[in-house]
């Protein structure tokens, strides 16, 4: 644990569990964990479904119909968002871990993560979602 931490002691119970106690680091950590678990769950389904390309192509194509649906497109964007956040924040972590001196700039790195996330993510989401109304024509 961080030595010389000035964080207040955690409270018990539900309020303690959801109370905001940290700065950028806590939000970064929570999002990193949630996005990591989400991508891992998708990865499990993804490997099994790709296995079906050889084992049962009809079943793969049946699963694949979901990707073309509106909820499928929304899920595609959410997957991309989780992947992009995890990749960008993960790079921030690796930079600070392998070059600890850069930890002093963690707040700047955190802002770069979000600027990059929206600069790449918003046009990306638009391209994927626009296929919903393009295919409806």
């Amino acid at each position: 644990m961080a030595r010389g931490s000035t964080l207040p002691a955690p409270r018990r119970g539900l309020r303690g569990a959801i109370a905001y106690r940290g700065g950028e680091g806590m939000v970064a950590w929570a999002f990193h964990r949630i996005s990591g678990i989400a991508v891992s769950v998708f990865l499990t389904l993804h490997v099994v479904s790709i296995f079906m390309v050889g084992a049962n192509p009809e079943f793969y194509d049946y699963l694949h119909l979901f990707y073309a649906s509106v909820p499928g497109k929304v899920a595609e964007v959410l997957l991309g968002a989780a992947l992009l956040y995890h990749a960008l924040n993960g790079t921030r972590i690796v930079v600070m871990d392998l070059w600890p001196a850069l930890t002093a700039y963690h707040r700047l790195l955190w802002r770069i993560v979000w600027i990059t996330f929206f600069a790449l993510g918003l046009p990306g989401a638009f391209i994927i979602l626009s296929r919903i109304w393009e295919s409806a024509k």
Partner: protein, 127 residues
């Protein structure tokens, strides 16, 4: 370790197995930054995901040994990274016998996924 939020796993002391896992998570992360983001870009932006049927994967995407090798490498690297990440999550939220059981299931699931993915990449006929 638990109780107070932290931004990241602190570097383990010494040179034991934990340090190897810690470094492995970071090195695979750097590889996946390129591989996984490129994979998402190719499958969702270069090609419309709607057209990628089983037949399309056979005829186009995996009709190349180089692409299959890259995809298989990505499979192995991502399974190392995700299993080490899930191991940390499981260690944070469970303990004792229950933790060992869940970790065992994680390692079995990881091995099964590597086997299924390797099987389809190796055995799908090249045109």
């Amino acid at each position: 370790m638990s109780g107070v939020p932290r931004a990241r796993q602190p570097r383990p002391k010494g040179r034991g197995r934990e340090l190897t896992y810690w470094l492995l998570t970071r090195y695979t992360a750097l590889a996946l930054f390129v591989l996984a983001l490129a994979h998402y870009t190719v499958t969702h932006f270069v090609y419309d995901s709607n057209m990628q049927t089983a037949e399309w994967i056979k005829q186009v995407r995996w009709n190349s040994l180089a692409v299959r090798f890259v995809d298989w490498s990505m499979l192995v690297i991502v399974m190392v990274h995700s299993s080490l990440g899930m191991r940390t999550v499981i260690q944070d939220y469970s303990k004792g016998r229950m933790q060992r059981i869940i970790l065992g299931l994680l390692y079995v699931l990881t091995a099964v996924l590597v086997a299924l993915g390797s099987h389809v990449i190796i055995t799908l006929p090249l045109k």
